[in-house]
C-alpha cells in the first residue's frame, strides 16, 4: 500500500474550499503529500511543530488572531496533545478542528500503531469530542467544512478521522 496522491489532493482541496488559511501539523506518512501541497501554497501558512501538544497552543493563538486554522496530526499525536486539548482548548472554550490520521486500525500491518489505533475512538468519546470517520473522497470536502463550522459554533474540539480507506491505495 502507499499513500493516495489523488485523495491527498482531494483532502487538501477540501481544506482550501473550507476557507482555511493556516495549518499546524506534525508530519507523518499519511499526511506527507497533503503537507507538501500546503508548503507550496502561498495562501496557506503551515506551522510545523516539534510535538503535537504545541499545535494546540498555536491553534489557540491563531483563533485569537481571527485566523481560520486547522490541525493535522496522527492519532498518536492526538494522544500526546491531550493536556493541551483538555486544559487549554476545553477549559477556555477555544475551538479546534483536528484532522487526525487514524493509524493502527482495520488492515494495520504494523504492530506499533495498533494500541493507539484501538483506543482513539474511546478517548474521543471519553472527552466528548464530536468526531466522524472520513472514508469517501466524495464526502471528505463536505466533512472538513462541517467539522470546521461545528468547532466554531460549539467552541469545542472536533475531530475528523482520516481512515486507511481514504488515505491509502494499492501499490
Amino acid at each position: 500500500m502507499s499513500v493516495s496522491y489523488e485523495n491527498s489532493k482531494i483532502v487538501f482541496k477540501g481544506i482550501k474550499d473550507a476557507g482555511i488559511t493556516s495549518l499546524s501539523a506534525l508530519p507523518e506518512t499519511w499526511l506527507g503529500l497533503l503537507l507538501q501541497q500546503a508548503e507550496k501554497d502561498p495562501d496557506v501558512r503551515l506551522v510545523q511543530v516539534a510535538k503535537e501538544e504545541e499545535a494546540i497552543g498555536v491553534a489557540a493563538g491563531a483563533y485569537f488572531a481571527g485566523e481560520r486554522h486547522i490541525l493535522l496530526m496522527q492519532n498518536h499525536g492526538f494522544l500526546a496533545a491531550m493536556n493541551g486539548i483538555v486544559s487549554l482548548a476545553m477549559l477556555y472554550g477555544i475551538p479546534l478542528c483536528m484532522l487526525i490520521a487514524l493509524r493502527g486500525h482495520w488492515g494495520e500491518p504494523y504492530p506499533w500503531h495498533t494500541r493507539g489505533g484501538i483506543v482513539t475512538e474511546g478517548v474521543l468519546r471519553a472527552l466528548n469530542i464530536p468526531f466522524e470517520y472520513a472514508r469517501d473522497p466524495k464526502e471528505v470536502g463536505r466533512q472538513i467544512r462541517e467539522a470546521y463550522t461545528f468547532s466554531q459554533s460549539s467552541l469545542s474540539p472536533v475531530a475528523l478521522l482520516l481512515t486507511r480507506e481514504l488515505m491509502e491505495e494499492p501499490l
Partner: protein
C-alpha cells in the same frame, strides 16, 4: 537571588498597554493581574508549557502586533520543543520572557532542573537557534534587556534569574472563558481600528 519576578513585571507593565500578552499560570499570572487587568492579557492558568506556543500562534498571525509571553522555567521545561519551533519560525514580533526561579513555586516549591545552575535555559534557547537571548539577574539588566527586545524587530528571549517568591494570595475576578472571549475581542477591535484607519487614508 535578589531580583523578584514581581518587580520585573512591574517594570514591563507600563509598556504592555498596546501589546498582546500571554502569561503562564500561578504566581506570574497573579502578579500581572494584581497590577490591573487589561483585556489584552491572557492568563494560561493550566496546560503548562503552552504559553509560548500560544504566543507563536498569535505572533505569526498578527504580524502588526507585538506579542509578549511571560513564561517560567517549570513551564518551559515541560515543552522544550517550543524553543526549536520558535527558532524555526522566528516571529519578529515576539518577546519571550522566561522567569527562572529554579522552582515549581506554584505547586509546592520543589526545585526545578534549573536550580543551582545545573540546566541553563538561555544556553538551550541559543542552542535551539534563537539569535537574541539575554540572561539577566538584576533589575537594571532586566530593564535594559526589555528595552532592547521591544526596540528590536526580531524574536527575543530574556531569561531572568529571579527569587522563588510569589504573591501571598491567589484569585481573579475573571472566569477563564471570559478571559479568552475578552482577549479575542480586544484583538479583533485592534484589527477593526486599523481597518478603519487604512480605509480612511
Amino acid at each position: 537571588m535578589s531580583l523578584k519576578r514581581a518587580e520585573c513585571i512591574a517594570m514591563l507593565y507600563p509598556e504592555l498597554d498596546d501589546k498582546v500578552v500571554v502569561t503562564i499560570m500561578g504566581a506570574c499570572a497573579q502578579e500581572l493581574y494584581d497590577l490591573g487587568h487589561k483585556d489584552n492579557f491572557f492568563y494560561l492558568q493550566h496546560a503548562m508549557g503552552l504559553a509560548s506556543s500560544v504566543g507563536l500562534g498569535l505572533a505569526l498571525h498578527l504580524p502588526r502586533e507585538r506579542v509578549v509571553v511571560l513564561d517560567g522555567d517549570g513551564s518551559v521545561l515541560m515543552n522544550l520543543g517550543t524553543l526549536a519551533t520558535l527558532a524555526r519560525y522566528q516571529p519578529r514580533n515576539l518577546v519571550h520572557v522566561i522567569f527562572d526561579n529554579g522552582s515549581l513555586l506554584s505547586t509546592g516549591g520543589f526545585d526545578s532542573h534549573t536550580t543551582s545552575g545545573v540546566t541553563d535555559l538561555a544556553a538551550m534557547a541559543r542552542g535551539a537557534g534563537i539569535g537574541h537571548v539575554a540572561a539577566v539577574d538584576s533589575a537594571m539588566a532586566f530593564g535594559e534587556a526589555a528595552i532592547e527586545a521591544f526596540a528590536r524587530d526580531d524574536l527575543s528571549v530574556i531569561v531572568a534569574k529571579v527569587a522563588a517568591v510569589g504573591p501571598n494570595h491567589y484569585g481573579m475576578d475573571l472566569h477563564l472563558p471570559e478571559n479568552a472571549f475578552r482577549f479575542k475581542r480586544w484583538i479583533a477591535g485592534r484589527r477593526d481600528e486599523r481597518g478603519t484607519t487604512s480605509a480612511g487614508r
